[in-house]
């Protein structure tokens, strides 16, 4: 039994290995991009709103509301990153119910990549908000001795992000695989439903945590501005 789709090599050319994780990721990307393009290609100028458009508007509104509630900031510039994190993880986890499909989030390489993206996005938004020095200042607050712990905290939470998602999805897949071999009728379906729920919850947790980390890096600047006012 394969624990990760990384081990399934479909094509290799030197160090370049095309494994199942990448292919499944491309599939998810294709599904998301195609459905988005189909839904938005006929957005009439102020015309009648379709059901698909209403669904996407509801989704975007939900994401905006969550970002606004978490960060207490305008969601415009965070929406592409946080929204894509949520949609990618949620769609990947949801496609698990398709037989033969292994969610790319069940690979530590994918979750690590997503965690690295968050790890980079936090200082990116922080620096964008208040500059390099302004961002680095928060490592030495309230004392310079806290800087190592802050840095360790940055790495540890990134690792936690990656491992949490990977562990949940990988464990769900493995449980369903084991149950299929033990009790092939009915029971795996229930577990798959549970797996869908867990997958959506994990997508939500990942996105919200990412937003919290980014917000913690950008809200410092906001508090300082409030003090100046």
């Amino acid at each position: 039994m394969e624990l990760s789709p990384d081990s399934t090599i479909l094509w290799q050319w030197g160090p370049v290995r095309l494994n199942a994780t990448i292919v499944y990721t491309w599939t998810v990307m294709a599904v998301l991009s195609a459905s988005s393009w189909l839904a938005t290609r006929r957005l009439a100028e102020g015309g009648k709103t379709s059901r698909r458009r209403n669904l996407l508007e509801t989704l975007v509104t939900f994401l905006n509301d969550q970002i606004r509630a978490t960060s207490r900031q305008e969601p415009g510039r965070f929406l592409p990153f946080i929204g894509t994190l949520f949609l990618f993880i949620a769609v990947s986890n949801s496609l698990e119910i398709i037989p033969g499909f292994h969610p790319p989030t069940g690979s530590i390489s994918t979750t690590a990549a997503l965690a690295i993206c968050v790890f980079v996005a936090v200082p990116f938004y922080g620096v964008l908000q208040k500059g390099v020095l302004g961002y680095l200042k928060h490592y030495v607050k309230p004392s310079v001795f806290m800087a190592p712990f802050e840095i360790i905290g940055e790495f540890s939470r990134t690792l936690a992000l990656a491992v949490r998602l990977y562990g949940n999805i990988m464990s769900g897949s493995i449980i369903v695989g084991i149950l299929l071999s033990i009790a092939p009728l009915f029971f795996p379906i229930v577990m798959q439903v549970l797996g869908l729920l867990i997958g959506l919850i994990q997508a939500y947790i990942f996105a919200v945590l990412a937003m919290v980390y980014i917000a913690s890096a950008t809200s410092v600047q906001k508090r300082e501005e409030e003090k100046k006012d």
Binding site: I22, L32, L43, V60, P80, A112
Partner: protein, 268 residues
């Protein structure tokens, strides 16, 4: 169990590509559409608010118009009432004037009829009085009376003023015809002689011819062409009628009436 770092890098790239793709195909269009729709809703709300404001203004304008119309109606009603009152007053005044005029006409007509009646009564009384006097004198008259009259005529000629006498004499002298002496009755010889004496004093050897004329009532008349010299009762009775009319006219004036038409202050 560890991550495949090539796969990690590939997934990072894949994720970034997915971010770009979704931003291009999902978030951008949807957010733009939502913003556009919000703008449209805001514009519609603004339009609705503007229309509500316009409607409010229109309502206020129509209320003002209605109020003005009501005030104008009251004003017009008051004007119409005033005009009606004025017309009624005018009509009443006109009717009153018409009544006064009719009454004045009626009074004038009544007064004229009364005066006409009184005038005819007076005239009739005068005529009757004169007729009675004429009848009485006619009954009393005779030749001896006319003789007295001839004597009176002689005395009158004799008593004429120098100028009148001269004028009469000149008139007689210029006349080459016979002088006619008329009387109601046949004059006696003494009467004829008296008249002849009187006329001879004016024109010697005057040619006289004596005639009788009953219309003279009682008296003598001398005709010399265009002029006459007379003393008779008819003339006196004619003067009596005129004097009676004059006296009755003055009496009407004294009693509040108008003087009789056809008579003046002198009774002519």
């Amino acid at each position: 169990m560890g991550p495949d770092w090539f796969t990690v890098i590939a997934q990072v790239i894949n994720f970034l590509i997915l971010v770009v793709l979704l931003k291009r195909f999902l978030y951008g269009p949807i957010v733009r559409a939502m913003d556009r729709r919000e703008a449209e809703i805001a514009a519609r709300l603004d339009t609705a608010a503007q229309k509500i404001a316009d409607a409010g203004q229109e309502k206020e304008r129509y209320e003002n118009l209605f109020r003005e119309l009501s005030e104008d109606r009251e004003e017009r009603r008051a004007e119409a009432r005033a005009e009606a009152d004025a017309l009624r007053t005018e009509l009443l005044e006109s009717a009153r004037e018409e009544v006064d005029r009719s009454r004045a006409q009626w009074q004038e007509s009544f007064r004229a009829e009364r005066e006409s009646f009184l005038r005819s009564v007076r005239r009739h009384v005068c005529e009757e009085a004169c007729a009675v006097a004429r009848r009485a004198v006619t009954e009393m008259a005779d030749s001896s009376l006319e003789e007295r009259m001839a004597l009176c005529l002689e005395r009158r000629i004799r008593d004429l003023g120098a100028m009148e006498r001269e004028e009469l004499a000149a008139n007689f002298r210029a006349l080459d015809k016979q002088i006619v002496v008329r009387s109601a009755f046949e004059l006696s010889m003494e009467g004829r002689a008296a008249i002849a004496r009187a006329l001879n004093s004016l024109k010697p050897a005057v040619d006289l011819r004596f005639e009788t004329e009953p219309s003279l009532v009682c008296g003598v008349e001398i005709l010399t062409g265009g002029r006459s010299l007379a003393w008779n009762m008819g003339e006196h009775l004619d003067g009596l009628e005129e004097r009676l009319l004059d006296a009755l006219g003055k009496s009407a004036v004294v009693n509040g009436g108008n003087p009789l038409p056809g008579t003046d202050d002198h009774g002519n």
